[in-house]
Symmetry: C2
Subunit: 363 residues, 2 copies
């Protein structure tokens, strides 16, 4: 309820009488209703949060029981004739004069229909962006604990699959085994499509696992994450079957040095840009600055990619309670890549790393 | 290229100089570029189809090679500074005065930014809905062949898993085995989240597989589909381990009778409503009309749910070359459900069923 009260204060400041929440992570954040949407056109329900009175979860009959069992404190209402038809009755009843909607998660065509309806009712539809997302950036203690559990389960999955990793297995096989192990160990689902990239394939930060068999001595990038109790984890390890050669060891040490430099820099009050720079300077000093093409990291929570960004552009200050990834990498076309990724909590005086796994971190 | 020419004729009629294609299935339909989007906010690229000249595929560097290898005849352009920044240069160069965009697959906030840009450039941004989707409804011979292959692979997967179905396996285990078998046999991915619903769980048409173990003698609804070469399949079988009791057999026969009645009715020229009614009358005559709560079927193609709808509301005529599902069901709360689903091609004089599997169809 604390979250709802905070949201209501924001709505009051913006003179919004009710907010229509269509973004699925925001819906879950405010209501605990855990359904997922097959696509933006096939929603499992939306929230209508009036500034005063009972919050509502609007859905269809397929989801009624599921919604009722999770969204405590919400009134569940069904829209057998569609959402707009229900809103036509509800909005006047709730005396809504200004209705906020999530402009960043409503289709243009749907917003057009909504606005046609509100115009007819003499209601103003107000496009808003990122109101609930902003609330989500700084995590409560309870959320941090859930994220930590997600991180630790992800590591258990990694350890189990790593122990059975063999030359000749294809990237796709290993990725499938990782995702199956996640489900088998109780994850809701992977938080993103698992990356397993051997040898030269690792040179692409977003490689898609293919039919290439893993080989000995080459770096294998494994980037994986899962969702547990709503919260995401995200971890990358680069591993070698057999003994890494000298070049590989040097690159591992370089990336790890960059990661530690960033970890030791991050604390409340420094900017995303400064965090990124701490890692980038290490890699640039080794002459490989142009081989680290992406940002240092990103926020993680109900979404696997959320604010804040740790990159060359974000001049905003990090705050205590933010959860971020620290994931420098170097990518050499034709040879492969090394990326090491941990998750941490930004605290007043530092960055507390949530990961415990140390596989191929300190060579 | 025939598809692009057809689209260009439509653009000409609507006085649109170029169409921005953001919907991923439409993108694949027109370009063969097979990348998927993690979400509507994380696109793998968009098409810009000018009324004259080379069609363009706009994407970022991660997808460049993939796009170039598939989108034959398209010029691949990268947007290192984002789509809008590239459009700002491209649109004047292409002399676009009226730019169409897909209102049903562009976020309200993104459409706002796009319109701000086009206004600045003296270009009119025209919201359009379903232009390419309409082209997709009637399939070419080549598409029908691909869909048929998707249907037959889906049946092979079903047969393999059905042969190993045992009492005590959980719904979730079976669903996972189905999806793994799909991937192992060469499918791109499932076309929707597989449904395995045993006993009472089958009473919900959209049941989510859970930890309930399968039991003997109860009906088990298995609804599954895959994507092969871009095209979807969708099939439901209801099966029983052991011998179904009298009530179950009667319900099977009723649902099958409804399915055959619809199959024998469907042909070019009848409406979606008439197709639905043919099945519904059979179930209603048995006193179970209110236990068949969903429509008879839907179109299938690059999307697993697309036009046309076969339901009580669709008064539009079916046309030859449409691909549809025929999936009546009865759902008895507390007891379970029976649904039987095949896919067929609408032809001039009838409906050609693409399925060959007959498991638990004719008892």
């Amino acid at each position: 309820m604390e979250k709802l009260n905070e949201l209501r204060r924001i709505l009051k400041n913006r003179k919004i009488d009710a907010l229509l929440v269509t973004q699925p992570d925001n819906r879950r954040y405010l209501s605990r209703y855990s359904a997922t949407d097959a696509s933006i056109s096939e929603t499992s329900g939306v929230l209508l949060i009036p500034r005063r009175g009972t919050p509502l979860l609007l859905t269809d009959s397929r989801f009624e029981l599921h919604a009722a069992s999770e969204a405590k404190g919400f009134e569940i209402m069904l829209y057998p004739k569609g959402l707009l038809s229900l809103l036509q009755k509800l909005l006047p009843k709730l005396k809504v004069k200004r209705l906020g909607f999530e402009s960043h998660y409503l289709l243009h065509a749907t917003a057009g229909k909504l606005t046609a309806l509100t115009n007819k009712l003499g209601i103003e539809a107000v496009p808003l962006v990122g109101i609930v997302e902003k609330m989500r950036v700084t995590k409560e203690q309870e959320e941090i604990e859930r994220i930590e559990k997600s991180v630790l389960l992800n590591e258990q999955v990694f350890q189990e699959v790593f122990a059975s990793l063999r030359e000749g297995q294809t990237e796709r096989e290993v990725a499938m085994r990782i995702e199956n192990t996640m489900l088998g160990m109780g994850a809701e689902r992977p938080s993103f499509a698992t990356i397993v990239a051997g040898g030269p394939n690792g040179a692409s930060p977003h490689a898609v696992p293919g039919s290439r068999p893993l080989k000995r001595e080459e770096p294998i990038v494994i980037d994986m994450g899962l969702i547990l109790d709503g919260y995401c984890s995200d971890m990358t390890r680069t591993v070698v079957l057999g003994t890494p050669d000298q070049k590989t060891v040097e690159l591992f040490r370089l990336v790890r040095k960059a990661q530690l430099a960033a970890t030791n820099t991050i604390k409340a009050g420094i900017t995303g840009k400064e965090a990124d720079r701490a890692a980038r300077e290490v890699i640039t000093a080794a002459g490989l600055g142009d081989k680290f093409g992406h940002g240092l990291g990103h926020g993680v929570g109900l979404a696997v990619h959320e604010a804040p960004s740790l990159n060359r552009r974000n001049g905003k200050k990090l705050q205590a309670g933010m959860i971020i990834t620290v994931e420098p990498g170097v990518y050499l076309p034709g040879w492969g890549g090394i990326r090491l990724e941990n998750m941490g909590v930004v605290e007043k005086n530092g960055c507390r790393i949530l990961n415990r796994d140390t596989t191929f971190l300190d060579l």
